[in-house]
């Protein structure tokens, strides 16, 4: 068994003249939480969707859980948990019905009770999805990604748009997933999220990885803080590499 949960070399994807992913190589170890960090439009989503087998790359070599999409798509689908950036689950279904639906796609996995309990939605089981708060919807989305008891979880900006409290709550759930031995590959444009959750991060800009490493090391590599009055953050790493802020807001 490969020691890597995800391994890709020289990934490339262009839409006509627009190069979304120019050259990305990365490897995620089993049990690790790996973050793809970068501003909107950097190529994070394209990269993760190629690794999820939802997009095909123009060039590059991909191995997920030691398997390849070209030969083992069905097995991979059974063993991965995927949360997409913009999915809206059906408003008219209840929490429990939604989980039953997703659970039915997997040969093996967790019970509905376990899933409800993991994400703390036992009290909301009979509520319509449309009536849930943003944080609750995101937890339901995570629960549906966990339905097949995956080895590897792909998360695309899992906390975008959430209030700080809901974000914290989701971080705790992801930590619990890791404590049980799960591997996470996630994208984010929140520095504090990457610093809190990720063992290693790759900073992506214009479809390329411009820095990679343990968050604290990347921050330490900055050397003498220039204008930094607070302790260094990944935000500073990004600024020193590109001269730009990570977020426009």
């Amino acid at each position: 068994m490969s020691e890597f949960a995800v391994k890709c070399e020289r990934l490339r994807k262009a839409y006509g003249p627009v190069v979304a992913v120019a050259d990305v190589s990365l490897s995620v170890r089993r049990g690790e939480c790996f973050g793809l960090l970068g501003p909107n439009g950097a190529g994070k989503t394209t990269t993760i969707e190629i690794l999820e087998g939802l997009l095909s790359a123009d060039a590059g070599d991909i191995e997920v859980l030691g398997l390849r999409w070209s030969h083992h798509a069905e097995e991979l689908r059974q063993r991965l948990g995927i949360q997409l950036q913009e999915t809206q689950l059906p408003d008219k279904l209840t929490v429990e019905e939604t989980l039953r639906l997703f659970r039915s796609f997997y040969a093996n996995g967790r019970t509905i009770e376990e899933l409800l309990q993991i994400v703390g939605l036992e009290g909301k089981r009979a509520s319509r999805v449309g009536k849930l708060s943003g944080g609750q919807k995101q937890r339901l989305s995570l629960a549906s990604a966990l339905a097949g008891n995956p080895d590897l979880l792909f998360l695309d900006e899992p906390t975008t748009g959430l209030d700080p409290q809901s974000r914290r709550q989701l971080w705790m759930l992801l930590e619990q997933f890791r404590e049980r031995g799960g591997t996470i590959l996630m994208t984010t444009h929140y520095m504090e999220e990457a610093e809190y959750l990720c063992d290693r991060v790759a900073v992506v800009d214009h479809g390329k990885i411009i820095a990679e490493g343990v968050p604290q090391e990347l921050i330490a590599r900055l050397g003498e803080p220039r204008v930094i009055t607070h302790h260094g953050t990944l935000e500073d790493v990004f600024m020193s590499l590109t001269g730009r802020h990570l977020r426009d807001d």
């Binding site: 689908r77 995927i82 997409l84 999915t87 059906p90 008219k92 279904l93 659970r103 039915s104 997997y106």
Partner: protein
């Protein structure tokens, strides 16, 4: 340990059914609307055929003699119409003909309207006879009330056909386009769900709604209007299934790539509106010129309504409606495979 988990096809079908039933508007259009529609049309076109013709006369002494004659005749109702209201009254059908007291009388009527033509003939007959015309003979009349020949009887199969089209196309297409728009399709194919099962579930959910969709207006018409159902229930069911499949496949094709509700609404109207008009829902498609009849006859709604009327009203056999079934079959199979080829999950 895994708990017993229901089959994905069951869960997908259940999800579709729940989404539909929890959408009050959708339920209204599918089940309540046909009843409202048939009630309204039954009121507008009463079943008793013995309606008087409506004759307009201007008030005043000049019309006195005419009024006396016409009021004494059977089947004529006289209404006073002032000259300035005449055109309006004719247009609205308040009167079918206006008689002006000249010698001989002048008839003002619209020859393009059947009831106007009829009124002219009835009035002329009454006046001629009063003026001393002697008839050669009087024909013996045997009035018949043929069950199934009333407008409402003719209309109900058309209504059922229209419902199968509207609900079939919307029922399939709306859910798919919405799921694509909400990136739910993409999320589903990121799971081990089988694509074929998703599509099959959409068709299955339609299938489960069919009995109610057809039986509600049919039973309502039988009870409320005494509409006769002469066909074999199995033959009716086969026609309904063929129609549902045809329009379901058509809906699937429309939804294969569309990404917005606005776009699918436009496409749907483009496809359905011409058929509402030419396929004989409200009036016979034979009203249209011979030149376009070949086109009208190969439309799926024309075929479905023809077959429904033949089976429900005349008790036709499957053999008698085979050309209609063939049209529906082609409209089902070709779009179905085209849809599978074109379908976008992203």
């Amino acid at each position: 340990m895994t708990e017993h988990s229901a089959h994905p096809l069951v869960q997908l079908t259940l999800a579709r059914i729940r989404e539909f039933l929890r959408e009050p508007e959708a339920v209204f259009w599918a089940f309540v609307f046909p009843i409202v529609m048939s009630l309204a049309l039954a009121l507008a076109f009463p079943s008793e055929a013995t309606r008087d013709v409506l004759v307009g006369l201007e008030p005043g002494p000049a019309s006195q003699g005419l009024r006396a004659t016409l009021e004494a005749s059977k089947g004529i109702t006289v209404r006073e119409i002032r000259p300035e209201d005449e055109r309006r009254a004719l247009r609205e059908g308040t009167v079918n003909v206006v008689v002006v007291p000249t010698t001989p009388p002048t008839y003002r009527f619209d020859p393009a309207r059947g009831e106007s033509q009829l009124a002219r003939a009835v009035v002329d007959d009454a006046l001629q006879r009063a003026a001393g015309r002697t008839d050669q003979w009087t024909a013996r009349e045997e009035p018949q009330q043929v069950a199934g020949s009333r407008y409402i009887d003719w209309f109900i199969p058309g209504l059922i056909g229209m419902g199968l089209m509207t609900n079939g196309m919307w029922g399939i297409a709306f859910g798919i386009v919405q799921a694509r728009m909400r990136k739910l399709l993409k999320r589903m194919v990121a799971s081990p769900m089988k694509k074929s099962q998703y599509l099959l579930a959409q068709l299955l959910a339609r299938l489960l709604f069919l009995p109610a969709e057809v039986l509600v207006p049919l039973v309502f018409a039988m009870v409320a209007f005494g509409m006769p159902v002469n066909g074999n229930p199995l033959t009716i069911a086969i026609v309904v299934l063929a129609g549902a499949f045809s329009f379901g496949a058509f809906g699937l094709l429309m939804a294969a790539r569309v990404r917005t509700i606005e776009a699918i609404s436009g496409l749907m109207n483009l496809a359905m509106l011409p058929m509402w008009i030419v396929s004989g829902v409200f009036f016979s498609s034979s009203n249209f010129p011979d030149a376009i009849q070949p086109v009208i006859q190969v439309l799926p709604l024309t075929a479905l309504i023809d077959a429904l009327r033949a089976v429900i009203l005349d008790g036709a056999s499957l053999g008698a409606i085979r050309s209609d079934l063939a049209v529906l079959g082609v409209w089902g199979i070709v779009p179905f495979f085209a849809a599978l080829r074109l379908f976008s999950w992203k």
